[in-house]
Amino acid sequence: MLVAALFLLGLPSVVTSFQSSQWTLVLIFAIAVMGLNVLVGYSGQISLGHGAFMALGAYTTAVLISHYHVNYLLTIPIAGLVTGMIGFLLGVPALRLSALYLALATFALAVVTPSLIKRPDKLTGGVQGILLVPPDPPQFASSAFATLTNGPQMTSEQWLYYLSLGIGAVLFWLAWNVIRHRPGRAMRAIRDGEVAAAASGINVAGYKTLAFGMSAFYAGIAGSLFGLATGFVSPDTFPVALSFQLLVGAVVGGLASIAGPLLGGTVMYWLPIVSSQTISSQDWIPTQISSVFVKAGPAVTYGALLILIMIFAPTGVVGLITSGYAALRNRLRGAGERGTGQMPPDPQTV
């Protein structure tokens, strides 16, 4: 953990500004994945629509800045709270849906979101979206950075990196505490068996909607930062694929684990980019096959990798490492009963 922290803190000083901005996106995705992890991994509810929450957060920030000239820093928590509240409210009808239906409904939400954004075009800028100017770093930060690294003043990309890192760290600490204490235990109890949990006196409805709201809050903040970091929001920046990538990030990174989200964020950002390159560099795959993958583009590799990961490591890479491969295969092959979207028990408690 400490190593990771040092690495993350030091990163911008050793890489280019552009690369910092790439890692900013990793951090932003990690924040969203953290929230989704709470929902899916800990409380056992599936959402294929968290891209919509990110969109909501991003647009809240964009609209507040461009129409109402609110200070950008202030828009971040506002975006989070607005999205969180909507998430909490949506969590109420979600209670009535079984896992599959919830996946279906949230999937539909993700598909519908771009057209919902386009409609009120006076506010949202319609198809063209809203442009945001990336904020300049505040003077104190910029000078401190320059002094510490013996280099130039901080760029706005680097500032956004640190901003995201700071917010991410706070949210991480928040999530960690929730998980560690009663809400986390309650959620896990719900995930592993709702009826039993209810029978033990756990307020199932309350915790499930809390999980929804919390995960939406995180996604909203991530969306807000996303808008600031990329400088542009439009309906097309939040397609269905984003929601799916978030879920993939959560699953591959390891559901119901704490280190997972960071890995998940990394995977989310890099996998589409890197997958075709990785495949072609693997010597043991015959060139005919790998060249198909390279030419076919990231989607094919992405999809194929995903399927393979689900077949062999359904609790994600982190789970794979901690539980051991054989145990996971057994759990997947024979023991699983398909019920209300219950995940295998979490392999690690932090």
Binding site: L97, A105, V111, V251, G297, A299, V300, A304, L306, R338
Partner: protein, 291 residues
């Protein structure tokens, strides 16, 4: 009034398309308790196959059944290769696998066929004919007719043949069916094949209307979800009825209420409303599904 009638007929035609794809979803749900998020992409891919055949000179009326057969084989293959290894996994895993499949197929289609929208031929002209005073296009009538025929054939297959009986048995109660000598695993594969073929039909019928490109089915699948959910995800009849209702409703709402761009939002509302008010849909059984 005339325009209203036209919209209704148009809605019925759309409904036929939605019903076919919804039926595919229902077939797989009945077999495995799983919603196949890749159904739309599978249909799109099959439509591209049909396009390629026709482009190479094959007559539409030969390419159509041939494509359905190919789609059938594809569905069986996918079940054997991808789904069977994760058959007993939790819902989330299966959802992700089908989503991964969707991504893969979409990317593959883009790679093989490109992203340029193509126009897909229809054997029915767009000329209109007057029915009860309203102007209805031959194409809409054709879609209605073809959907109806295929749906009736599927009904006959499932309800009147031994094969259909064993497929239904395997879907409803695999353990008891095994004790009767039914090869359950193969019945599941056939179910996927059949669903794939039916889905392909919906793709082929919608392609002349929208343009054929890899993302063509992404909105149609939402309408199909709405139809399946409304009709009851376990009921083939529900898929048909649901499809018709969704088709007509969305068409009318688009024309008179909210405008074309929000038709998808209407479908979403239907999904949410049904799931919250009557999750089993119109024809679904209230019984709890076996786990």
């Amino acid at each position: 009034m005339q325009e209203f009638l036209q919209q209704v007929v148009s809605g019925i035609a759309s409904g036929g398309i939605f019903a076919s794809l919804a039926l595919a979803l229902v077939l797989i749900y009945n077999a495995m308790g799983l919603v196949n998020f890749a159904q739309g992409e599978m249909a799109m891919f099959a439509t591209f196959v049909a396009f390629t055949l026709i482009d190479r000179g094959m007559s539409y009326w030969i390419a159509l059944p041939l494509t359905l057969v190919i789609a059938f084989a594809g569905g069986v293959l996918i079940q054997r290769a991808v789904i069977r290894p994760v058959e007993r996994a939790p819902v989330l895993t299966l959802v992700i696998v089908t989503l991964g499949l969707a991504t893969l197929i979409n990317g593959l289609a883009g790679f093989l066929f490109g992203y340029v929208p193509r126009s897909f031929p229809s054997p029915f002209s767009v000329h209109t004919v007057s029915v009860l005073g309203a102007l209805v296009s031959y194409r809409d009538l054709g879609v209605i007719a073809v959907s109806a025929i295929v749906l009736v054939l599927i009904y006959l297959l499932l309800q009147r043949t031994t094969l259909g009986l064993t497929m239904r048995a395997a879907a409803h109660n695999p353990d008891a069916s095994r004790l009767l000598g039914v090869r359950v695993s193969w019945m599941l594969a056939l179910g996927w094949g059949l669903a794939s073929a039916v889905g392909a039909l919906s793709g082929i019928m919608v392609a002349p209307i929208l343009l054929l490109e890899p993302n063509m089915m992404q909105t149609i699948i939402i309408y199909a979800f709405a139809a399946a959910v409304l009709g009851g995800i376990e009921s083939p009849l529900g898929a048909v009825v649901g499809g018709l209702i969704v088709g007509i409703t969305v068409n009318l709402a688009g024309a008179y209420l909210v405008g074309g761009d929000l038709q998808l939002a209407i479908a979403f509302l239907i999904i949410v409303a049904v799931l919250v008010v009557k999750p089993n849909g119109l024809f679904g059984r209230p019984s709890v599904r076996r786990v």
